[in-house]
């Protein structure tokens, strides 16, 4: 499998270089990929939790039931 590459453009000469990443740079990329996947999963979970709280708050308001503090937080800035 080909190594990932980076591009460097010399703005004075116009020369474009395509450079293979070093093993250390590839290792850094793999670590960053794992961190980004975790970050994305956490963001999606947080968004889903907020949406659920908001839906719950709306249902309780319609039914005239008391809201929890977390549900109120989704409605009040």
């Amino acid at each position: 499998m080909d190594k990932p590459t980076r591009i460097e453009i010399n703005c004075t000469t116009g020369e474009t270089s395509i450079i293979e990443l070093t093993d250390a740079e590839i290792a850094d990329m793999e670590t960053a990929a794992l961190a980004a996947a975790d970050q994305q999963a956490a963001a999606e979970a947080e968004a889903a939790a907020k949406a659920a709280l908001k839906a719950s708050a709306k249902a309780k308001l319609i039914a005239g039931e008391p809201l929890t503090a977390e549900e109120v937080d989704t409605l009040v800035i």
Binding site: P4, T5, R6, I7, E8, I9, N10, C11, T12, T13, G14, T16, L21, E25, M29, A32, A33, A35, A36, A37, Q40, A47, K50
Partner: protein
């Protein structure tokens, strides 16, 4: 007021690429504008912008909105972020970012930077970000700019345009 825009260099990626660097930027302008349209090959929703190969002394304030909620964050970071569309977003959509760097040649002032960026997605969630950033390293002229996804690679057809702007 800047009144001239000159295209310094442009690149459209023909294959996925880990990063792109504009080096040896001419010292003949007043400001720089980097215009990015990009997508990630996998996860990773940020394009990280660094100057002169440095990954320290950056601070930022970011205002983010996604159509349902807005938030604000601040911090010391290793580069300045703009939005980047991850592969989970609608196929063939790309982020759009403007990165404005005034007074890039100054050797006495820190470098203030602003970014105005959106991600595109034919779904409920997409983002708009406004960033006020500062590169507070020992003041030096910016001679190179590097754009790197916070993970994985830029996708094919991502584009990067660097403009120089003169004030006269």
């Amino acid at each position: 007021m800047a009144n001239t825009y000159t295209l310094i260099e442009a690149k459209t990626l023909t294959t996925s690429t880990a990063s792109i660097t504009f080096s040896s930027i001419p010292a003949t302008f007043t400001d720089l504008l980097l215009r990015i349209s990009a997508r990630n090959t996998s996860t990773g929703g940020d394009c990280v912008i660094t100057f002169n190969g440095s990954s320290s002394s950056y601070t930022n304030k970011i205002l983010t909105g996604n159509g349902a909620a807005a938030s604000s964050t601040a911090g010391s970071i290793t580069g300045l972020d703009s939005e980047l569309v991850p592969s989970s977003y609608t196929a063939s959509t790309f982020s759009n970012s403007d990165v404005y760097i005034p007074n890039y040649l100054s050797t006495s002032n820190y470098k203030a930077v602003s970014t105005d960026t959106v991600s595109e997605n034919n779904a409920a969630t997409a983002y708009a970000d406004f960033l006020a950033g500062l590169w507070a390293a020992t003041p030096a002229a910016i001679t190179s700019i590097t754009c790197t996804p916070n993970a994985n690679n830029f996708a094919q057809y991502s584009t990067f345009y660097l403009y120089g702007i003169k004030n006269s």
